[in-house]
Amino acid sequence: MKINCLPFTNEMVSDAGRLLAKRHKRNREQLPWLPARFEDPEVAAKAVEVLWKEKSKSGYAAFRDGQMVAYLIGETTTDPWGRAGYVYLPGYAAAESESPRMIQDLYTLLGDDWVKRGYFDHYLYLSAADADVIAALFDLGFGKERVDALMDFRSLTIPDVEEPAGVTIRRAVSGDNAHLGSLSNVIFRALGKAPYWHPTVPEDWDDLHDGWSELADDKEWTVWLALENEEALGTIGFRPELEEDTQMLASPQTIYLSVAATKPQARGRGINTVLTWRGLEQVRQEGYEICYTNWISPNLLASRFWPRFGFKDVAYRLAKKVNPMIAWAKDE
């Protein structure tokens, strides 16, 4: 039976929610750390509805015999590094019996809308459990850019680790602003290097410095510091990850791990290993059950470091960069 692909509309939200709930149920069979609530079609439909309320959204759905069998919803934004289209985790689903080609066809339509409007960076967040969809997008030229991962504290064994000689490991407090600010360039410099080469524009450097400095006073964050001779060498931070409508990775009692950085000259001494274990131990004592983090997979330092702690991949951001010359160089 022929497939009919149509622009997504408000009236399609409920059907899309049902497809998403079924997808999530299948995803959880492989990834039981994912939150259960999105198996409820109403919760899933709410996630789709929130996406569809975005001003810059667009999307398509595929129908067979009048029944929705897949959908893809994206939104566009202008990032400092380019005009970009994003499909977030609740933004796609296909019926179990359907070929992943359906998602390829829907992306062809959605991506062409983006390209016609000058959005040449295309990003899709996909469940790590959807291996066939990931493979189908790889076939279209998508590469992996970000890994989202979860760790279950309930089965975690935290080792006793000694502080490296001469290094003090402690919680950051108000007054540590300069220490934290001094570490703000570590990550964006790592992202700018091979083999990711992600640009960070100079006007953002000061904002990043200010943002990191302010973590010292932010009650929502628990930040750890490694200091040697009064110089900050490394840091790691945690904040609660809330169960928001579209956050398909957060369960109750989930903590988010971020701002993990060690200055290049201090690497290889186990500083971030100690910071991480101390931080994880503390948040587990506070009653958190799941830790969520993400890293850029072409950031080789990060992608070879975090899996050692037991983080399991649960989602990926795949990326495809379209050559902007296509705006004028086509045979019509």
Binding site: W81, L140, G141, G143, P195, P199, K330
Partner: protein, 337 residues
């Protein structure tokens, strides 16, 4: 033991050749249609040497205890759509048992050289048998762009097909230039459409048309075409011989041998699709190729060209290599902190 990464030098060619020969032996266990000759270290070394003779090449090798574990050699070309770096099939190898992380590290070095020279489009040809390498490159942002595939003509069952009603199917020859040139736009349109969006400059599309037309009277090509009411509606073109000696054809040399012909191009006008035109053209061409004693047919298609990538596997073509690609944001030239 720590791994040492060094710029590739001429003196490393024999060792790289040995690694490449071993890789090819492993690849052929999965893909027996690949040419056997690169299992010989000498032939493999010659392939590496050919790459290293390019004026624009660069490369790195990884060593442990003085022994080469892996190497990666690239080349670059100014394409009309971007300054592009390429690693061809003889351009990489990884010793058995070594982690693909070593190749990721070599790419980080090679790619950095490219980026510093303004080469932001990175393209690596990888054997389809090297699943770990493909996965390792996907992890650092590479997607699939091109599929190179092989078909064993010796065991192929060729169906008897009738010509679609009102259609003439025949070999092209001298005087058919305009017919062949008239369908070239089908391919350029397909490549510049979603979800590939390959930019093709106006001057390159004209060249494309001329190239297709010239095949009518070229003995190296066997071109089949479909005519309806004196209008060419489809064509499939096979290349008997490679335009340069095979040993110098960086893209094809590790896939093809003397008994291989290449299915070079195929196109059917959009308004006549669904009538089996490319089907009959392809089968007629494959049948003729077998009569001409070719054993293997090589084809490539662009993965994001959905019409092509869903079509060619139906004939039994098996992927033998992929071109993986990664596009770097040129802003990195000035926005890196």
């Amino acid at each position: 033991m720590k791994i040492e990464y060094l710029p590739f030098t001429k003196e490393m060619i024999p060792e790289a050749g040995q690694l490449l020969a071993k890789r090819h032996i492993c690849n052929r266990q999965v893909l027996p249609l690949l040419p056997v000759r690169y299992e010989e270290a000498e032939d493999a070394s010659n392939a590496v040497e050919n790459l290293w003779q390019s004026q624009l090449r660069n490369g790195y090798a990884a060593f442990r205890n003085g022994e080469m574990l892996a190497y990666l050699i690239g080349d670059f070309e100014n394409q009309s759509w971007a300054r592009s770096g390429y690693v061809y099939l003889p351009g990489y190898a990884l010793a058995g048992g070594e982690s693909v992380a070593v190749l990721q590290d070599l790419y980080a070095l090679l790619g950095e050289d490219w980026v510093r020279r303004g080469i932001f489009s990175h393209n690596l040809y990888i054997s389809a048998a090297d699943n770990d390498v493909i996965q390792g490159l996907f992890t650092i942002g590479f997607g699939q762009e091109r599929v190179d595939a092989l078909l064993d003509l010796r065991t192929l069952e060729i169906p008897r097909l009738d010509e679609p009603e009102g259609m003439i199917i025949r070999r092209a020859g001298r005087g058919d230039e305009d017919y062949l040139g008239s369908v070239a736009y089908v391919m350029t349109n397909a490549l510049s459409s979603a979800p590939y969006w390959l930019p093709l400059t106006p001057e390159s599309t004209s060249a494309w048309k001329e190239r297709w037309a010239s095949r009518a009277d070229d003995e190296e090509w066997m071109v089949w075409m479909a005519l309806e009411k004196d209008k060419a509606v489809g064509t499939v073109a096979f290349l008997f011989q490679h335009p340069t000696p095979l040993e110098q054809d960086a893209e094809a040399q590790m896939l093809a041998s003397a008994i291989t012909l290449t299915l070079g191009t195929a196109a059917t006008r959009p308004e006549v699709r669904g009538r089996g035109i490319a089907n009959i053209l392809t089968w007629r061409g494959l049948e003729q190729a077998r009569k001409d004693e070719f054993d293997v047919c090589l084809v490539n298609w662009i993965g994001p060209n959905l019409l092509a990538s869903r079509y060619w596997p139906r004939f039994g073509f098996q992927p033998a290599a992929y071109r993986l690609s990664k596009q770097i944001n040129p802003m990195i030239a000035w926005a890196k902190g």
